[in-house]
């Protein structure tokens, strides 16, 4: 309960000057960054868009537009609610202080040194290309998240165009209002009917603004899952990285073992530069060989321990990540179903309004 109150006061604070809003958004970004790096096996909730995208009407492309600012505020609030209701994330101390601590929070986050744990983009990309045996489920999930991102962005783009066109249709009807009024001026019996029908046409034309404003909330719900796709991909990338790391470690261990064997038996199984150099520069002394073998054996032991822990780490990661992914899937199915229902309800409401207006107009016409 306490954290919810803190959330609200934070959100209210955002209504203050532009500067503080931007700082606040960057603090949200910092928080999310911290969470993503600290909990790589969790599908971390996404932030709402920084800049207005998929706009249907040129006006709302402005980041200072009060409607956009308000929707973003709601999005940020939603983000905090998501984190607060996550079984693992809600227990994080940094998150708790984000909600409760006024000053010095930024420093506190940086002091955790979380940035050091971050994987470089290049390293991640490399792993993606070179990993040999990633868990099939993660490969499928990555593919799914790519497709999801593609289909939702397509949907949002077309929806914006649909909204634009619908706006045009409704607004042109407003012209009927004016011409009916002008026409009614020269008519005797027909005048009243025309005039009042024209008024209904004006009502009809005006109604589209609220209808489309409501639809923006639906678009925001879709956008959240568009950005969630990225979070899913991040978990998959982490798995690939860990798997690649594991594979590299295993490969390294195998080659060291091989070297050891070669030195011990004196045979060169496969081509190796060392073998060549020893051939070129003469064989090593038994003492040198012994020393080398000893070093290698130490390294091998270290390597085996590392491999063991990496294996364990990897399996733990897969297990906990997959648990969160299942949780996420259920959440997603529930949320999207709700979003579709609310969209259908919006359409029903729009149809009913349309029927009402035209029925009113028809009655006016009947009195002509």
């Amino acid at each position: 309960v306490l954290s919810f109150r803190a959330v609200e006061s934070q959100s209210e604070g955002q209504c203050v000057p532009v500067d503080s809003l931007w700082r606040r958004y960057s603090e949200f970004e910092l928080l999310r960054n911290y969470l993503s790096i600290t909990y790589p096996h969790i599908v971390v909730p996404p932030l709402p868009e920084k800049r207005a995208d998929f706009v249907w009407h040129k006006l709302s492309a402005d980041n200072m537009d009060p409607d956009f600012v308000e929707r973003r505020r709601i999005g940020l609030e939603n983000f905090l609610l998501r984190v607060a209701s996550h079984p693992v994330l809600c227990q994080d101390k940094i998150f708790y202080s984000f909600l409760t601590q006024e000053g010095g929070w930024k420093e506190m986050v940086n002091e955790t040194g979380f940035q050091l744990k971050a994987d470089s983009r290049l390293k991640a990309l490399n792993a993606t290309f070179r990993v040999k045996n990633p868990d099939k489920r993660f490969t499928e999930l990555k593919h799914y998240s790519d497709e999801l991102q593609s289909v939702i962005s397509h949907l949002l783009r077309v929806r914006a165009r649909v909204a634009d066109r619908l706006y045009g249709v409704y607004k042109v009807h407003g012209n009927y209002g004016r011409v009916f009024s002008e026409w009614s001026a020269i008519e005797k019996e027909m005048g009243d009917g025309l005039q009042s029908a024209g008024h209904h046409m004006d009502v009809y034309a005006a109604s589209i603004d609220d209808i489309l404003e409501e639809e923006e909330h639906y678009a925001d719900q879709l956008k959240e899952y568009l950005f969630y796709a990225e979070a899913l991909r991040a978990v998959c990338r982490k798995h690939e990285l860990m798997q690649y790391d594991l594979e590299m470690a295993a490969q390294d261990l195998t080659s060291k073992k091989q070297q050891c064997e070669e030195l011990a038996t004196g045979t060169v199984r496969t081509f190796s530069l060392k073998g060549m150099t020893s051939k070129l520069f003469g064989q090593e002394t038994p003492e040198q060989r012994e020393a080398k073998i000893k070093v290698l054996e130490e390294q091998i032991q270290e390597g085996e321990e590392q491999l063991k822990s990496k294996n364990l780490e990897g399996r733990d990661f897969v297990k906990s990540a997959w648990a969160d992914i299942e949780r996420f899937k259920e959440q997603k199915n529930h949320d999207l179903k709700e979003a579709l229902i609310s969209y259908a309800v919006m359409q029903i409401s729009m149809c009913k309004k349309g029927i009402q207006v035209w029925t009113n107009a028809k009655e006016c016409f009947s009195k002509m």
Partner: protein, 394 residues
Amino acid sequence: ILLFLNFPIQDLSLPNGTPVDTSSPASSSSLLNRLQLDDDLDGETRDLFVTVDDPKKHVCTMETYITYRVTTKTTRAEFDLPEYSVRRRYQDFDWLRIKLEESQPTHLIPPLPEKFVVKGVVDRFSEEFVETRRKALDKFLKRITDHPVLSFNEHFNVFLTAKDLNAYKKQGMALLSKMGESVKYVTGGYKLRSRPLEFAAIGEYLDTFSLKLGTIDRIAQRIIKEQLEYLVELREYGPVYSTWGGLEVELSEQLEGVSACIGNCCTALEELSEDMTEDFLPVLREYILYSESMKNVLKKRDQVQAEYEAKLEAVALKKEDRPKVPTDVEKCQDRVECFNADLKADMERWQNNKRQDFRQLLMGMADKNIHYYEKCLTAWESIIPLLQDKPETK
């Protein structure tokens, strides 16, 4: 009406005793007009029914054209048979209209749909075009049928009954000079000083009326255009939900449902636009044409009055002491009075019909929109249970 027609026309005389000049069709028709007790033709008192239907395409070596069946049912004595069925093409209707304008110049003749259509833009033989034209031609004949004077016109009778209309058309050309129909009202060169207030008011009304109709026509066209552009986007929108459905497991039915629903809305929208194009726009344009031809009749009336005033002035200038005004000036006065009476009566009838026509047209427009929204509402309401469906219940 039937009763009066049994009297030979020659025996009629004006209330003040002077014999009526029956050689002029105008005066006899205006007399009939004035003698009518009841203009309103209910179903019970109606004795003439005309319908246009059954369009057929004719392919000949020289040309391809459409004919329409014109069916007549009547109890009127002017018709030899109680029923007729003939085939007529557009140029026959056009011929009729011209003949009516010539023989009944003091009356408002209903308009015909546009004669020429831009080839390549409109398919003259498409079902929609032919049907739209059929409705307009049907309306044209019905308006004449409802008119107490025009419906008794000889050319109209022939149009409805003749097996070979072309033969009559050729004959008509030869008889033109004998009948002297069109010649009588070609009054040239007279300029009216001022239009009487009531006719000036009609002229102004028609000007504003046709202007407003033009605006409404443009608005309606614009709406149809916007709707079609909206439709284009919707047609891309629906299938994306389907694609998404293919990606999901749990939600695939729901997403497919939304996709199908949007598809249904697309169909409903297409129907709305088609209906507006076929039923709404043509009637608007018809009334604009009507206004134009009515303004021409007003001008003709002005001409007749101008001629009378000029001749009257000429007589006054001669300063002759005659007890009686010369007969040709008297005839002019007659003509003016008949024209004014006919026109006023027709205007009143036209205003009433116009009110009914527009009431029906606009209610129809509202109806089409209501049906569109009802179809969409049904579609969306029907998928709510599908969307709320829990996976366990499947």
